[in-house]
Symmetry: C2
Subunit: 197 residues, 2 copies
């Protein structure tokens, strides 16, 4: 019985797992919960996947690689550092708004990855942060950014776009465009009006 084309069955399970893990958390979500969503008995899931943590792995690493590949593209852009940072902020918001469950799981449930995947994941993330911070550092040196600690700036930016994942629901009163514009305004130009140079 293949109600959905056979190759897609696993992907469907991973998608449902993403939503379930986001709602209840990885540990609190049981395979029987997942099976119910998929419309099957728990044992049947194992015809398609090897284990529960394979699901977590697939989700976390897919998201991680998406972020990294966009960062690589941005690094190679011909643009000012301010433009690169703006592009990365927009990229974050775009990925979050169109793949919210997976991003949420990758952000909040990665610590339940078993070794050696946990180490690999944190390594990828640390590398991402290091490269992003380097862009900010160079922007400061070029006089484009205020002379703040680059790590603090990095995490302030990343966190500020991360809340979108916690809070955003498609079809809410605020459009992705407004979201993007206002967050960018605050982070790049500040909340307060410029009064004196």
């Amino acid at each position: 019985m293949a109600r959905i084309l056979s190759g897609n069955r696993k992907q469907f399970i991973i998608e449902e797992a993403g939503q379930l893990f986001r709602e209840k958390g990885y540990t609190a979500a049981s395979m029987r919960d997942l099976a119910e969503r998929v419309g099957v008995e728990a044992a049947s899931l194992y015809n398609h996947i090897k284990s529960k943590d394979e699901l977590l792995r697939e989700i976390c690493f897919r998201v991680a690689h998406e972020y990294v590949s966009h960062l690589s593209q941005t690094e190679q852009m011909e643009a000012t550092y301010a433009e690169k940072v703006r592009a990365l902020l927009r990229m974050h918001i775009a990925i979050i708004t169109h793949d919210i469950s997976a991003v949420s799981v990758a952000n909040n449930e990665w610590k339940h990855l078993p070794e050696p995947y946990l180490s690999e994941f944190t390594h990828i993330r640390r590398d991402y942060e290091r490269r992003f911070a380097a862009l900010i550092q160079k922007g400061i040196e070029a006089g484009e950014f205020r002379p703040v600690n680059p790590k603090i700036a990095l995490f302030t930016l990343l966190a500020a776009v991360r809340w979108v994942e916690i809070w955003y629901k498609p079809g809410r009163e605020i459009s992705p465009q407004t979201l993007e514009r206002d967050i960018e305004t605050i982070l790049i130009h500040g909340l307060t009006q410029a009064t004196a140079p």
Copy 2:
């Protein structure tokens, strides 16, 4: 046998629970894990507490009430809206850096509260956000802040200080003072240098 004064025994358990829940997550942390940290068998914990979720409740609501009481004080300050918002940002950073485990649990594990506590908690938080957003709204009307969506501004600010909880460890290379100053600079004045008014 009271190795620690009897009244403090429960508080000690709650503190250890906070650290454990932060590290492993509420669901993944077992009472046997907690017992080991406390230096006792799991059954003995029940001489001091009623249940596992009593621990979660105590942590979440203590943090919630701390935030709310500071907000009330700030609302009554005689100051500009920009000053009030800055005061709240400093307050957030201060609470996080001196009670990091509890804040982390309240931020990340609250969804495992059983009803009716879950509803009560989300109600308190929503009320907090509403009142904070009102300050930003008035700041915009007074011309102190840029004309952005107040909700977006609110969540951008809250998220930007929340990362401190995820990342901050006491005794790291960055001092709380630098932290406070740089985050405030970015959020209030923006990352980019002002070039033209």
